[in-house]
């Protein structure tokens, strides 16, 4: 068992625990590299099947290639896709010009909240990782959210020896994070090893590429000549820039991500 084998086996274990313990379970697919790896791991866990529906929260501001990729892969792999969109807020003119943090709260967090209420999901699988940013580093693998969707980061339940929190009160839900222990480089090395298809926005065009994907108005590209997975891995082995440096909402103020995530942001 090498390092990637160990990461993979642990993620599969977590996905199978989630599938066993939650009757109403969904997996968030942002179309980015992490949640696409997660989808691949789900297919490994269930021997080529993905019995868990995939939820995509479409803010309508996504980069168009993401939607094309989503629909192509969903069809090829035969996965159940549930698209959520906050049509009411969009009709009322919500957008990044109203304030980035507010826009994220409404078009992502609240849209997800509405969809989960409609579908009755009690377990939600997400591809976040501890090394992405400081508040995610403090997450549990099975992380409770209260009835208002809030994360009580100051009083989290204990979690050890792979015994997870699978009991919860009515009207609350559990976030499940099977990639929490992976690093950005682990994800790319795994994509290379498994030859997982990835949206080509990650590869450099005209000297720039996306390192983290989000909405078109709020996601910046980095300078890069990396046009292959190998080149991206080489680039990341040398970089000292953080992964989410191109995500504008993180930098609105010092604790923007803490505030967003406490209120239910992914």
């Amino acid at each position: 068992m090498d390092h990637l084998d160990a990461l993979e086996a642990q993620s599969i274990y977590i996905l199978r625990e989630a599938y066993k313990k939650f009757k109403k379970l969904a997996m968030l697919w942002s179309i980015g590299k992490d949640s696409t790896v997660l989808l691949w791991l789900a297919r490994k866990s269930f021997f080529g099947h993905c019995p868990i529906p995939l939820v995509h929260i479409d803010t309508s501001y996504k980069i168009p290639e993401m939607i094309t990729f989503r629909d192509r892969v969903a069809a090829e792999w035969g996965v159940r896709l549930v698209v959520g969109q906050h049509t009411q807020a969009l009709a009322e003119g919500m957008g990044p010009e109203k304030g980035r943090v507010l826009c994220c709260s409404i078009l992502k967090t609240e849209a997800l909240q509405l969809l989960m209420a409609e579908k009755g999901y009690t377990g939600l699988i997400l591809g976040i990782r501890r090394d992405e940013e400081g508040t995610r580093a403090k997450e549990r693998i099975f992380s409770p959210r209260d009835r208002n969707f809030e994360w009580n980061y100051k009083d989290q339940p204990p979690e050890f020896w792979d015994q997870f929190k699978t009991d919860f009160a009515a009207d609350t839900h559990i976030r499940i994070h099977p990639l929490l222990h992976w690093s950005e480089l682990d994800v790319w090395r795994y994509i290379r090893r498994e030859e997982i298809p990835i949206v080509d926005l990650y590869f450099a065009r005209s000297g720039e590429r996306y390192r983290s994907l989000g909405c078109l108005p709020c996601t910046g590209r980095i300078k890069s000549e990396a046009t292959t997975v190998d080149a991206i891995i080489e680039e990341l082995e040398r970089t000292t820039t953080s992964e989410r440096s191109g995500r504008a909402q993180d930098h609105e103020d010092t604790y923007a991500m803490q505030k967003l995530r406490a209120r239910g942001y992914m």
């Binding site: 642990q10 625990e17 021997f47 549990r140 929190k165 009991d167 082995e237």
Partner: protein, 425 residues
Amino acid sequence: MTDTLTPPATARESMSVVLVGHVDHGKSTLVGRLFYDTGSLPDGRYEAVARVCEDTGKPFEFAFLLDALEEERDQGITIDTAQARFRTDRRDYVLVDAPGHKEFLKNMVSGAASAEAAVLLIDAAEGVQEQSRRHGYLVHLLGIRQIIVAINKMDLVGYSRETFERVRAEYLAFLGELGLAPRNVVPVAARHGDNVAAPSKQMPWYDGPTILEALDHFQARPERRHLPLRFPVQDVYKFDHRRTIAGRVESGTLAEGDEVLFSPSGHRGVVKRIERWEARRTGPAEAGESIGITLTEQLFIERGDILSHPSHPPRVSQRLQARLFWLGNRHLAAGRPYVLKLTTQEVTCHLEGIGPVVDTATLAARAQSEVAKNEVATVTLYLNKPIAFDAFTDMVETGRFVLVDGLDVAGGGIVLEPVEGDYSI
């Protein structure tokens, strides 16, 4: 240019190390310093923290590189674990910074439980304190045997060798009572980087390793594939014509054609195929792998059964003796039902007997009828049906369990060798 000296990722070892100790003794500062001194900080992180400190009128703290929450920086306290990744020539590290405040012991346990090694940190000026002892005890109970001790804030005691020797002797005596022997005791001043990544000019009397060198002396976790087979059933799938038994091999190896025993149900079967999807590995499955199996004949198998080779079965019993630590706000008491989770088994149980309750900060033991938060006790649990398990000293993965009180995990325990005698309340 590619660094051709760096071995490929797959060949590199990765190790998780937890840093524990009393509140305010400087754990986050040490982690922040290691993060900084190994050149692992992302661009702008140092400057961003410096700006926050300036804006809020605080002196710069290396701890703020790790303590990400507003409440943590405001109070200068770590609430929940953080982690720093860095690498040496030897291996990649994930260093887990565990909170030192008594109130957050459950977070400390959550961070420490999966670590392969631990750094116990003590403030040279304050000496051994309540959580220094408690964390030492829990690290021992969690089964972590590779430890080093860092005696921090040597700058505040004038880099005094005498102070170092006194604190060292006091803590070694405590750890010795637990049967723990640290590999190194390192005098450091984390704030200034003395003996963290580079040797200290202030302490020429010390000729041992720096913290970073001491970490590199830790050994990788021993392979579990040579131990007897334990394969707990996680689930049974029927997505197509196959009935696939899914689970993770916790120890040993499992091959097609093997005769296996299911415990506690007592069924026996023969493995037809090891099932994997798009896997790089073929052949027998070994410890750590999440796989599936099919059997040559259909048996009624459920989540919770543990597969073993019939020559080396686990124990099966309706009664467990264990050493247990309690994290719940409500005391562990007789008469209340708890759910015991051991691997994928879940069973309701009751507290049947209780031995001496240990105050982990003083090692004082006394007779009590309940176990309060942050206490450790030897207990006998009576289960409402038999389960399969091993003694923790024989098999780690099948020798430990958690107790759920209501909706939350409230305690953890390690299974002791069964001994005669009854603990009555």
